[in-house]
């Protein structure tokens, strides 16, 4: 899913500053009485179950290529859905049959069902009650959305057992929320044993608030059916109250879905279309998807669809009318992205990809990812210099790997999908558009990396990156820490230890854990395995300990080398040297400081007055380092990190020190003439 644009973040920050100021004033005037204010701190940063990454078994170099990569997922469920779209009510009437195999190593009796649409049911849901500031998902629906389970039946051959009464609300500490339901089975299911559940349900879509819903004839049908929570190896379920910043976590399975929609609606869905059958005024379209952990579709009256074969994948593009330009740019991004991500993180294994560009009045449905289906967005006409369309497409496509194929827990460790994906997106955007991957005017370029750097630093030390989506301080923190700071941290690690090292480590992690459910330990273990413990440790500090860094040149100088003067006791007796003998050489020196808790190797460059340069590598362990050298020429300047390798470096204006004297007055004069030019232009009659 896409974080809000930088401009929106700025606007939101300003709005919240104003709001805070106002609230503070009201509170100050107050004395309204009532209870004392409640204080809520986030839980400790280390998530439950986090263990040292060194205990994780190494993957080995076999996963540096696609050869050893798993070809298919271990299927935990086979799910058959029949969905009839009531286009007038924007509702889905459905039946669901789940053949579920216990993937845990212990018997399981409790299963959890997510009814995500209930987040939009009333103003008391955890989602709509959230106090996270403005931004995505912060508006109230005009039409409520909900999901009703009409029946739950356990099917065992001919025997059918009604389990409706075994289904109960279960949102810990949140009795009003209905997004998380517990289903207690009559008997525990042994490891590897299977059961079949049949459900009937009705899902009412809200108007689009976030990700899912309708707008006019457009329906983005996502998180729409009762969804089994993932069962972990220890038998526990990855279930949670659905909150505004939560995304998802599910087991791999196989979907067989029949969508019954009015004739003339454009249908696009997860997986491969296998049949179409027209009945009176309606069309039943059947889709099959394997090795995926979710199923979403669009049913859209008035959309324009096109098909293309891109990088060996059948791509189905669905957009509003008059979006040809955007679609052409989307295709170009897909062509680069499918190849780029495939090369870096293992090839795209599916035959199809569906891309939905929602209509302008349903923007919040855009910028989202589902297995083999992504939604993009943006205006139909935007200048080619601004790479919004491309970056959005690239981001959502990247999610096919980061959460799609490497199915991390998006709710608990969102940085593993959004953060790693933002970093991965940077690289593929660079392959598509070079230095101007965000903005490319002739002569002036801005990269996605540079934008993430600014985002990362703006919320930098407020919180750790590795925070559950339920514990984010604000929506802005979530965007800046989970997305931007993870990306900038990974960039910094690549800058310090070499891009090839970090690329290989993440590639090994994504290939080795394809169709798996790894967590932060596995990522750190891969970094440790490929790049060594210093790299892994820096990543851990950056993710879990609010690690930060500021590199600065503190001081520098030049001392001409000459024979020493003074009193010397030598073999022939005491000698007093009064004349000096200059050799023409210079001792040059500089002191560079590393502030903060992130220890990263970095280059220091000395510039000599004769124009030559000398570079030296500092491992960056201690708080500061003294660099000395002997040279024919005096020192002119010193720069630490001349290539901007450390994206997280908090300030860049202290990274350089120029020793040339006498320049400031002239530079000031220069700036004065410049300011004078501006003043003249403004005031001449």
């Amino acid at each position: 899913m896409r974080a809000r644009a930088a401009a929106e973040l700025v606007a939101a920050a300003l709005a919240s500053m104003l709001a805070l100021g106002w609230a503070g004033r009201v509170a100050g005037e107050g004395g309204h009485g009532g209870a004392a204010p409640t204080l809520t701190e986030p839980p400790p940063a280390l998530p439950p179950g986090f263990a040292p990454y060194r205990e994780v078994a190494p993957l080995g170099p076999a996963f540096d290529t696609d050869d050893a990569m798993p070809r298919e997922a271990a299927l935990v469920h086979h799910t058959r859905l029949v969905a009839r779209l009531d286009e007038a009510r924007h509702a889905i009437v459905g039946t669901e049959t789940i053949a579920w195999t216990n993937p845990a190593s212990v018997p399981v009796r409790e299963l959890y069902l997510h009814l995500y649409l209930n987040a939009f049911k009333n103003e008391r849901t955890a989602f709509l009650r959230s106090r996270l500031g403005d931004g995505r998902g912060s508006k109230m629906p005009r039409e409520w959305g909900y999901a009703d389970v009409k029946s739950v039946t356990l099917v065992d051959g001919d025997a059918r057992r009604d389990l409706r009464d075994a289904l109960e609300r279960h949102s810990p500490g949140d009795p009003e929320d209905e997004t998380d339901l517990r289903l207690t089975l009559p008997d525990a299911v042994a490891p590897g044993a299977a059961i079949v559940l049949e459900l009937t349900f009705e899902s009412k879509l809200p108007d689009v608030v976030e990700r899912t819903g309708w707008a006019g004839g457009f329906h983005m049908v996502a998180q729409w059916f009762p969804k089994l929570a993932r069962v972990r190896p220890d038998g526990s379920s990855s279930h949670f109250t659905f909150q505004r910043l939560s995304e998802f976590d599910a087991d791999f399975g196989e979907y067989d879905v029949t969508i019954d929609a009015p004739a003339g609606y454009v249908i696009g869905a997860t997986g491969k279309r296998i049949s179409e059958r027209a009945t009176a005024g309606r069309v039943e379209t059947r889709y099959a998807a394997r090795d995926v952990h979710d199923f979403a579709f669009t049913a859209w009256s008035g959309a324009v669809e096109s098909r293309a074969r891109i990088a060996g994948v059948d791509v189905h593009l669905i957009a509003p009318p008059r979006h040809e330009g955007v679609i052409a740019r989307t295709r170009a991004a897909l062509a680069t992205g499918l190849e780029c991500y495939g090369r870096r993180f293992g090839r795209y294994p599916y035959e199809t990809l569906t891309v939905v560009h929602p209509p302008p009045d349903a923007e919040e449905a855009g910028g989202m990812e589902y297995p083999t289906l992504i939604t993009t967005g943006g205006p139909s006409l935007s200048p080619g210099a601004v790479k919004l369309t491309e970056a959005l497409t690239m981001h959502e496509l990247g999610h096919q790997w980061f959460y799609g194929l490497v199915a991390t827990d998006e709710h608990r460790e969102p940085f593993l999908d959004e953060g790693l994906n933002s970093w991965a997106e940077q690289g593929c955007m660079r392959e598509l558009a070079g230095d101007g991957s965000a903005l490319a005017l002739p002569g002036v370029t801005v990269s996605v990396e540079a934008l993430h750097r600014i985002g990362a630093l703006s919320a930098g030390r407020d919180d750790v990156i590795a925070r559950s989506s339920a514990d984010a301080a604000t929506a802005g923190h979530y965007a800046r820490l989970v997305y931007s700071r993870t990306a900038a941290l990974m960039s910094s690690l690549a800058g310090a230890y070499g891009p090839d090292v970090v690329e290989r480590a993440v590639g090994r992690y994504t290939r080795g854990h394809r169709f798996g459910h790894p967590d932060a330990r596995h990522l750190l273990a891969a970094l440790d395995e490929v790049g060594g413990s210093e790299l892994a440790e820096a990543a851990r500090v950056g993710l879990f300990e609010r690690g930060w860094i500021d590199l600065a040149v503190v001081d520098a100088g030049t001392v001409p080398r000459r024979s020493p003067k003074g009193v010397f006791d030598r073999e022939g007796g005491r000698e007093t040297v009064t004349t000096m003998d200059a050799s023409g050489d210079h001792d040059v020196w500089a002191v560079v400081a590393r502030r903060g808790s992130l220890e990263l190797p970095v280059d220091v460059e000395l510039g000599l007055a004769d124009g030559t340069r000398r570079r030296v590598r500092w491992e960056g362990r201690g708080p500061w380092v003294r660099v000395t050298a002997v040279s024919r020429s005096p020192l002119a300047w010193v720069v630490v990190d001349p290539d901007h390798a450390i994206a997280l470096d908090e300030r860049l204006d202290d990274n350089a020190l120029a020793l040339s004297r006498g320049a400031p007055p002239l530079r000031l004069l220069e700036r004065l003439t410049h300011a004078g030019a501006a003043a003249t232009l403004l005031t001449l009659p």
């Binding site: 370029t445 300047w637 901007h644 204006d653 120029a658 002239l666 501006a678 232009l681 403004l682």
Partner: protein, 269 residues
Amino acid sequence: MRLRDELARCGSGMSLLLAVAWLAALAPSLPLGLSLGASVAAWPGGELTLGEPGGVLLLEALRSSARELAVAARLGPAWLCAAALVTVVPQGALAAQLAWPIRLPLLLALATATRRLPSLLAIAAAHLLSRVALVAAAVFFATMTTIVTSSRAGELVVFAIFAVVAAAIACALRLVADVAVVRALRADVGAGDALLDALGALSLRAFSEVLGAAALGAVTFGGAVWLAHEIGARTPAEAAVSATLRAGSLAALVAARAVALGVAARSAT
């Protein structure tokens, strides 16, 4: 009263007022230029520029400017009021007294002369837009100076083009507006000869501004490219050359306007 007499009578007073206005306008531009340039100025000559590929330093400069300007912004309203007081008010007073063809009094004179509100509004809008475009030109010139250490000509070309285009738009807008005024007045029998003469001068002056802006752009642009290619890294001497070039280009602009005003005065006699 003839324009030449007015100029002769009030030349020194006018110069004084313009000097005050100029200093007032300098006050807000200076911290802006300094804070924008600070992060680049810290780097050794030629090492880095705001226009380096990828934009890391450009965004860093904007970030640190935002930080520093946040302090200046608190003084903003007071500063703006002071600047307005010392620029607009005296100029307005002088212009009103002399019927000097400066925007506001001109419009007032026109309002009494023509009584054609829609065309007056259009003229006023054109004048306003021309001022906005002129400010944009100033901003682009400002950006050019901060990146003049670049060793690549590409970015300089871009900013120079922006600056010249913005200045040209500003002047063209004013020219169009002024010509429209003259035509409207010629059609209006009630307009006095002196005013017509003044307006004729005004159009001439607008034309001269196009030339002046082009000269300014060409000199600054040429100087910047020359600096970038011939010198590369910046030393105190280079800074001095750059400053001289800029001062020279300003002098060219002022000279162009002075010549135009002289021509206008002669034609009005």
